[in-house]
């Protein structure tokens, strides 16, 4: 069997299975520049061709019976009804008023594209018409090779205007107008942040769209709010970057002069796209992301200075924390309680947009059990007009949680109760226990954090952001580079050595070995590391709920006292109280040689290790 066979077989899945599970229709990525715009228009042209046939125009190539015509990439041009013989005496275009026009379609048949003009565009079109001078008809028709306008008047007459039909003066701007509408012109290069000089009154219409969420039109006051935020971010043109993937968030702007601008926030958090062209930005762009989400109803709209004080820990569903563009980490329940306590001590004041934003800005995302969501970005409560008066305490807390370079190196933790274990170890998806002995264990959380928990002290004695560390070492770029990655550890001469297999797209790109220096809290790459020379098994068996182990990536690890660790992706949702859809669960079994015995839920790990089995 080939992989293509399998892919084709997936295409024949029962519709019930497909329908049942994918309730959201994948939406088209709305904005890409010339080609995609043209592509959309090609279909539009096909669609337009049908009603055109209905109203008596002459279709080219297809008979009315042909099923192909609705989606043909050929644009069907109408036969002009304007009487060419009277042009020199009575030019119908120069006196044509917008209120007499029912519709205008602009076409360019060579590229097979067309577009129906909006009311605003029709007004601009008429303005161009008034500057046009038609002096006769062409002796040799160039009909399909130029931009052509088809004008349908309210009295039912249809007129066709094209330099291929008429000898015209001052028509260049009209052609430019048409070709711009059709997306045939190169997008104008914009240097820097265009919003710095843009005023709200210049914007006739604006909307925001978030993938899979929908689209909302902005009101005037919201346009001003948008501009206030958009001005915060420096834009640095990246001429080699264009939007080639779907954007998460799109801001569509139509200015009063008819020009259109689309700001796309793409997949990479440090890039935005203006009309499809890439710009490097910094973490301040998050203010726009949050504002867009707020406009789409994704953030609470009724935050007041008292809002946080009314909250209790029980109201919190999940609290996540990040810095700038970094991925968010999830706080456990105890950490969330501390966060709320600090938050409630804060005075909340009217927002001050002069607040500096940078990539170190802290970012809290709070989901409440009632379904609402709150955002704190560098102390600003986005979308509400309020901010924290003095976010320094939260800043310190955030640094501590993320163990950034500014942070203290220890956590204040509760005694190791069952509940506590669940919170600490299962606060994020896919934790991995990678090493353990009677005194301490090493585990990762969400592939970002590496932690060492000291059983004797009852606290975490070491933590590091693995992704950040490896990124700095230049061996991975963001979380995507870690797809399918495992971590594994072993002890050699008293040191824990951490192995990392960095991979992208499912293919291993190499294995790096790192030494964990527990004393100093550093990771050091092992030179010329070769996993093939290791004399132990670095793989881990993941254990699904049915108890059948299977090989997955690299990871743990026999324990010194005869136990081996396993990680379960978590299907046994009844075992531990965890609020997410995932319930990661680490299991430990006692091994003697190849004799594997009972599974032990991770909540029982500590007592077993402490008691020596």
């Amino acid at each position: 069997m080939k992989r293509e066979d399998l892919f084709e077989a997936v295409g024949d899945l029962d519709e019930a299975l497909l329908d049942e599970n994918v309730t959201e229709v994948p939406k088209t990525r709305k904005f890409r520049w010339v080609l995609p715009v043209a592509a959309c228009l090609v279909l539009a042209a096909g669609v337009i061709a049908v009603p055109h046939v209905m109203r008596g125009g002459l279709p080219v190539g297809d008979t009315p019976d042909s099923p192909v015509s609705p989606v043909s990439t050929d644009v069907t041009l109408p036969v002009p009804t304007t009487d060419l013989s009277v042009l020199s005496e009575d030019n119908p275009f120069t006196t044509m008023q917008a209120d007499k026009i029912a519709g205008v379609k602009v076409m360019y048949t060579v590229k097979g594209v067309s577009l129906d003009l909006t009311e605003m565009q029709i007004e601009q079109f008429v303005q161009h018409l008034s500057e046009l001078k038609i002096v006769g008809k062409q002796t040799e028709l160039l009909f399909g090779d130029t931009v052509t306008f088809e004008i349908t008047c309210k009295d039912g007459t249809v007129h066709t205007l094209s330099p291929g039909l008429y000898v015209m003066e001052n028509y260049e701007s009209l052609m430019e107008f048409g070709s711009t509408l059709l997306g045939m012109n190169e997008p104008p290069v914009i240097e820097g942040n265009p919003f710095l000089t843009m005023e709200a009154q210049e914007i006739a219409q604006m909307s925001v769209e978030i993938e899979y969420m929908g689209k909302e039109e902005l009101e005037k006051s919201e346009i001003s709010q948008f501009l206030d935020r958009a001005r915060l971010t420096p834009f640095t043109r990246q001429s080699n970057q264009t939007l080639d993937k779907g954007a998460y968030m799109q801001w569509y702007i139509t200015k009063t002069d008819g020009t259109e601008l689309t700001l796309s926030l793409g997949q990479q958090s440090d890039m935005v796209y203006l009309n499809g062209q890439g710009y490097l930005v910094d973490g301040t762009i998050q203010t726009l992301v949050k504002y867009g989400e707020y406009l789409m109803g994704q953030a609470s709209t009724d935050i007041t200075p008292d809002t946080f004080r009314k909250l209790t820990v029980e109201d919190l569903l999940v609290v996540r924390l990040g810095y700038g563009t970094e991925e968010l980490v999830t706080l456990d329940q105890r950490q969330a309680a501390k966060f709320l306590e600090l938050l409630q001590e804060q005075e909340i004041v009217e927002r001050n947009d002069e607040t500096p934003h940078d990539e170190k800005s802290m970012h809290f995302l709070i989901n409440l059990k009632d379904g609402s969501k709150m955002e704190l970005f560098n102390g600003a409560i986005n979308g509400t007009g309020y901010r924290l008066a003095d976010p320094a305490a939260l800043e310190t807390f955030a640094h501590t949680m993320l163990q950034t370079e500014f942070a203290p190196t220890t956590f204040e933790l509760l005694p190791p109760t069952e509940e506590w274990l669940g919170n600490v170890y299962f606060g994020s998806e896919f934790p991995y226990l990678i090493y353990g002995n009677d005194d301490y264990c090493v585990f990762t959380e969400g592939m970002d954090g590496l932690f060492i928990f000291d059983f004797n002290k009852g606290e975490i004695t070491f933590s590091a952001n693995i992704t950040e560390t490896f990124n700095k070492a230049g061996i991975a770029h963001g979380a995507d580079a870690w797809n399918g990655v495992g971590l594994s550890a072993y002890r050699e001469n008293g040191e824990i050595k951490l192995l990392c297999t960095a991979s992208t797209g499912g293919d291993d790109t190499g294995t790096r070995g790192f030494t964990v220096d527990v004393e100093n809290g550093t990771l050091t790459e092992i030179p010329n590391f070769d996993r093939n020379n290791l004399d132990f098994n670095v793989y881990v068996y993941n254990v699904p709920a049915d108890g059948l182990p299977y090989l997955f990536g690299a990871a743990p690890i026999p324990l010194e006292d005869g136990y081996i660790c396993f990680e379960n992706s978590g299907l046994n949702n009844d075992i531990l109280p965890y609020q997410g859809s995932h319930l990661p669960m680490i299991m430990i079994r006692k091994v003697k040689g190849d004799d594997v015995k009972d599974w032990i839920p991770f909540k029982d790990v500590v007592p077993i290790i402490k008691s020596g089995g």
């Binding site: 497909l18 592509a39 099923p67 609705p70 989606v71 997955f552």
Partner: protein, 186 residues
Amino acid sequence: MDDNEIIALYFDRDEAAITETQQKYGAYCRTIADNILKSAEDTEECLSDAMLRLWNVIPPQRPVRLKLFLAKIVRNLAFDRYKHRNTEKRGGGELSAVLDELSECVADTADVEGELQSRALRSSLNAFVSELSAKERNIFVRRYFYADSMDAIARELGMTANSCSVTLSRIRKKLRLHLEQEGFTI
């Protein structure tokens, strides 16, 4: 217009059926085709072909779920076009990654031959997917039916791209085991 009304237009041989289909499902189909082809030109041609095929098969066929019926047509046509395009060169894009992932579940041996075998494979795959949890099923379908990117799936389902990748990796391993147990050559 609801699907039944659109299908009725096809049965009436009314070309408005195409217009309505385009209007309702054009963006949806474009996403499916574009995920596979990553070429605006190919995508448009694929969509044209899909509309023609839809016009030709309804009637006699009367889809229960027009959206999925159309999705399958688009997907098949796009994949045919992808294979044709890539006979001479190795393609990039999302589908290339998707196929690479699926290669973990199969051995690159002879093609599945004959209707009987391919029907058995479809049946086996249906059984496998129906046993997945709702979330796993959703991820699987988005990735291997719609060829959606890992980022898009993760964002949609409120998870990280990394955990999405890990979940898919586990599903593939289970699928490989399932196919082995079902007697497909691995």
